[in-house]
Symmetry: C2
Subunit: 160 residues, 2 copies
Amino acid sequence: MDPIGFSSHDHAGCIAGNLARIEARCKQAKLQLTPVRRRVLEILLQDHRALGAYDILDRLRDEGLGSQPPVAYRALDFLVKHGFAHKIERMNAFVACAHPGEDHAPAFLICRKCDMVVEAQTEPARGQLGSSAKLAGFLIERAVVEAEGVCLNCAEGPQS
Amino acid sequence: MDPIGFSSHDHAGCIAGNLARIEARCKQAKLQLTPVRRRVLEILLQDHRALGAYDILDRLRDEGLGSQPPVAYRALDFLVKHGFAHKIERMNAFVACAHPGEDHAPAFLICRKCDMVVEAQTEPARGQLGSSAKLAGFLIERAVVEAEGVCLNCAEGPQS
DNA sequence: ATGCATTTGTTATATCATAACGTTAATCGT
DNA sequence: ACGATTAACGTTATGATATAACAAATGCAT
Ligand SMILES: [Zn+2]
Ligand SMILES: [Zn+2]
Ligand SMILES: [Zn+2]
Ligand SMILES: [Zn+2]
């Protein structure tokens, strides 16, 4: 709910906090946060933007952590599967989760000027969509919700 | 709002009606509904499912209407641009619009068992997402809303 | 130490999408 | 009707995204 990302915040703490929370959760759930997986997570946490798998792969290659697509995709699969990252379908790109571990249905606000991504919450089965679903006898299991628009910072700027 | 697609309906009329409405709109707006574009539209209208660009291209090729990817993508671009079809981002696939011409913000209910797609309406700026956006000073311009779940027909069946 | 499951490295390939360019066809002002 | 302009098409080539498959290495419980 808190619109981190567009607003300025203690981002170093933001990164460290999420990383620590995820490490704890992996330990607790006996998940292997291996070097590649951890590094991909760090790269995604670096800024509140979505990165393509091949962008990530480039970084990994530079650091000697892997050079072939499956390396990046496997790490991303792990992170997404366990809710530590999300895929932005419109962009074929990935973003670190802003509420790791909290069991949530993510929705995204994506600025088309600065590419910043903010994670918000949604309740897929509620609202108009929920009504339509009910009417159709459709059981919603999950939903992709990705809003595109302009963030506060970019709206203020002189550029159109 | 009406959950056509899962429920049985006069589908021949459904196709004919949408096609007629779109033809009229093209005439009125001086848009060229060329043979390829029209055929792609017909293929999409055939059933309330999403088709990949290459599935459509295969059909076109069989009918001698074009054999290379740009043929399909250009027709789809036209249809999407003018609101006669929509892209389902999660599936990299396309579906005919259920409310052509009506100027609407589409949302989709997608059955993971039978692949049926129902188009519903959404008001992106309302509800929880709207609240989050307002809080963040974010201006929503459009939104991808794609719910996955199980439709009435598939829920009733014996198969899990 | 042994056996089993998970992860990694690598090659190859599948799938989705567009750039570029010359040709053809529709549109429009004259 | 005519030529200029714009829009659509056919084709080749390539780019971008994603996965299959399998052998080697590692982690982990007994
Ligand atoms: Zn931050
Ligand atoms: Zn999240
Ligand atoms: Zn129908
Ligand atoms: Zn529609």
